[in-house]
């Protein structure tokens, strides 16, 4: 199964939402948290996602729809 390394950034209003739990239940995706920093106002989580490519894409789109940022952990590859 393909893996993706991503970072979720949560806004204050989403801090209390179990986004990662729901991601693993709504989609065929295994989530594996590696690093995180969350307080009462802001938060980010770095995690690995395992699943079919299309399923991961659908899952990430759902995370965005929930109001969280999704970042590719490796940053942009295409350079000037």
């Amino acid at each position: 199964m393909p893996f993706r390394r991503v970072k979720f950034v949560f806004k204050t209003e989403r801090i209390k939402s179990p986004v990662i739990y729901e991601l693993g239940h709504k989609f065929e995706i295994v989530t594996n948290i590696r690093r995180a920093d969350i307080d009462s106002e802001n938060g980010w989580v770095i995690l690995e996602l395992e699943g079919a490519v299309d399923e991961i894409e659908r899952g990430l789109e759902w995370v965005r729809e929930q109001g969280s940022e999704v970042q590719n952990l490796d940053g942009d590859i295409l350079a000037g």
């Binding site: 942009d76 590859i77 295409l78 000037g80």
Partner: protein, 409 residues
């Protein structure tokens, strides 16, 4: 390299062997070359550096590849020029321009690709690859040619013809039908799928070390001291962090007495996640969709953005967001005062410099270096609307009428 101990995770500190890897398996932090500075200190001196070649490889003790294997087309030791005319214009009496447009393919990318391609040879790769919209393409293609390696340079198919040809002349260029995100995704997949040396993926820990040579050169060319200010254009943030690292390493090794340089971030309005994070007091830059004429700075999701913000804060530096309209102004100002035609990123740097001088962030007598990373000849379209010319008939009468404005009887 005997001077390299390991690759080390910048986040959790876990060590890895020197391999073509770039991310920590445990915390997903970026890997960075970890040197044995005690061993280096025994071998390096101002004299040993001065005895070396007039390229980045004069600093090979502090690079992660061997000078003996160097894939070199002469990157490095670019001019550091006293900018008296520009300084007078801005009220700065101690201003220097580091002109990295003088590199073989006309940008600082030759430094990083020289290291990456040398490391690729040491790892026994037969193919070197990159994804680029400009400077990196030319640098990778040229070094791949010099190394005799297969070269895969991926470029969006809608890129300006001149930029495509500038890389294609050295060998194979692959035009990809799709936008920037499509090229990013394809190259990420290829990076996982093929045993290639991808300069800014699996070679990244080594590749990025090449930028330290700018910091070394600044110190050496200033007479073995660190400047008080450096203004650096920021894309991924890698260059910014490595110029700082270079100066710090020289101080740590006693090559220079100290390195208290204030590091200043320069970004264009249309892609300024790092400068914006600095200004807003945020540690983590928020990704953006780039929309700037400074194409070489169009990295919306900067891998080293967070580290750049940290360094700017730690050193007492700054973050400047330059309006798009001021980019060509900066390019013209540098050209008209110092005779240097810079790319758009240089326009961002010069406009940042002008703002910092006006605001008093940089004092009139403080030693300041503005880093020019590439040539304007690759981005002529950026100044097409702001440069004026006159046309005359081939007669002296016409010349006098149009150019000198002399009355004609």
């Amino acid at each position: 390299m005997p001077n390299v101990q390991s690759l080390r995770c910048k986040e959790c500190g876990r060590d890895y062997p020197q391999e073509p890897i770039y991310v920590c398996d445990f915390c997903f932090g970026p890997l960075e070359v970890n040197y044995d500075y005690d061993a280096i200190a025994k071998n390096i001196s101002r004299e040993s550096i001065q005895d070396g070649p007039l390229t980045i490889w004069r600093y090979d003790e502090l690079l992660p590849a061997s000078r003996d294997n160097a894939v070199s087309i002469g990157a490095g030791m670019t001019p550091l020029l006293k900018a008296e005319n520009l300084g007078k214009e801005l009220g700065l009496n101690n201003l220097w321009i580091k002109n990295d447009a003088a590199n073989p393919t006309h940008s600082f990318k030759d430094r990083v690709v020289s290291v990456a391609s040398t490391k690729a040879v040491e790892f026994d790769f037969d193919t070197i690859a990159c994804a680029s919209t400009g400077n990196l393409a030319g640098a990778t293609a040229a070094h791949g040619a010099k190394a005799g390696m297969n070269t895969m340079v991926f470029i969006p198919s809608d890129l300006e013809r001149g930029k495509i040809l500038g890389a294609a002349v050295f060998g194979s260029v692959v035009l990809v039908n799709g936008n920037y995100d499509d090229v990013n995704r394809l190259c990420s997949e290829l990076g996982d799928d093929r045993r290639w040396a991808f300069v800014n993926i699996n070679m990244r820990p080594y590749y990025s070390e090449g930028s330290k040579s700018i910091g070394y050169e600044l110190a050496e060319q200033l007479g073995w001291r660190a400047p008080e200010h450096v203004i650096v254009p920021v894309a991924s943030g890698s260059l910014f962090t490595k110029v700082y690292k270079g100066l710090q390493e020289f101080a740590q090794l006693g090559i220079i007495d100290s390195a208290d340089t204030k590091m200043h971030i320069a970004q264009p309005f249309g892609c300024s996640p790092v400068a914006k994070a600095f200004v807003e007091g945020q540690a983590h830059p928020k990704p953006v969709v780039p929309d700037t004429i400074a194409k070489s700075l169009a990295i919306g999701s900067p891998a080293d953005g967070m580290y750049s913000v940290g360094i700017a804060n730690k050193t007492g530096g700054s973050g400047t967001i330059v309006p798009e309209s001021e980019i060509s102004e900066g390019m013209k100002l540098l050209a008209e005062t110092e005779g240097i035609f810079t790319e758009t990123a240089g326009g961002v740097v010069i406009s940042t410099l002008r703002r910092l001088a006006r605001e008093g962030v940089i004092g009139p007598d403080e030693e300041t270096v503005a880093l020019i990373t590439g040539t304007g000849l690759k981005t002529l379209e950026a100044i097409a609307d702001s440069v004026e010319t006159v046309t005359i008939d081939p007669t002296i009468r016409s010349f006098d009428e149009v150019v000198t404005g002399a009355a004609v009887s």
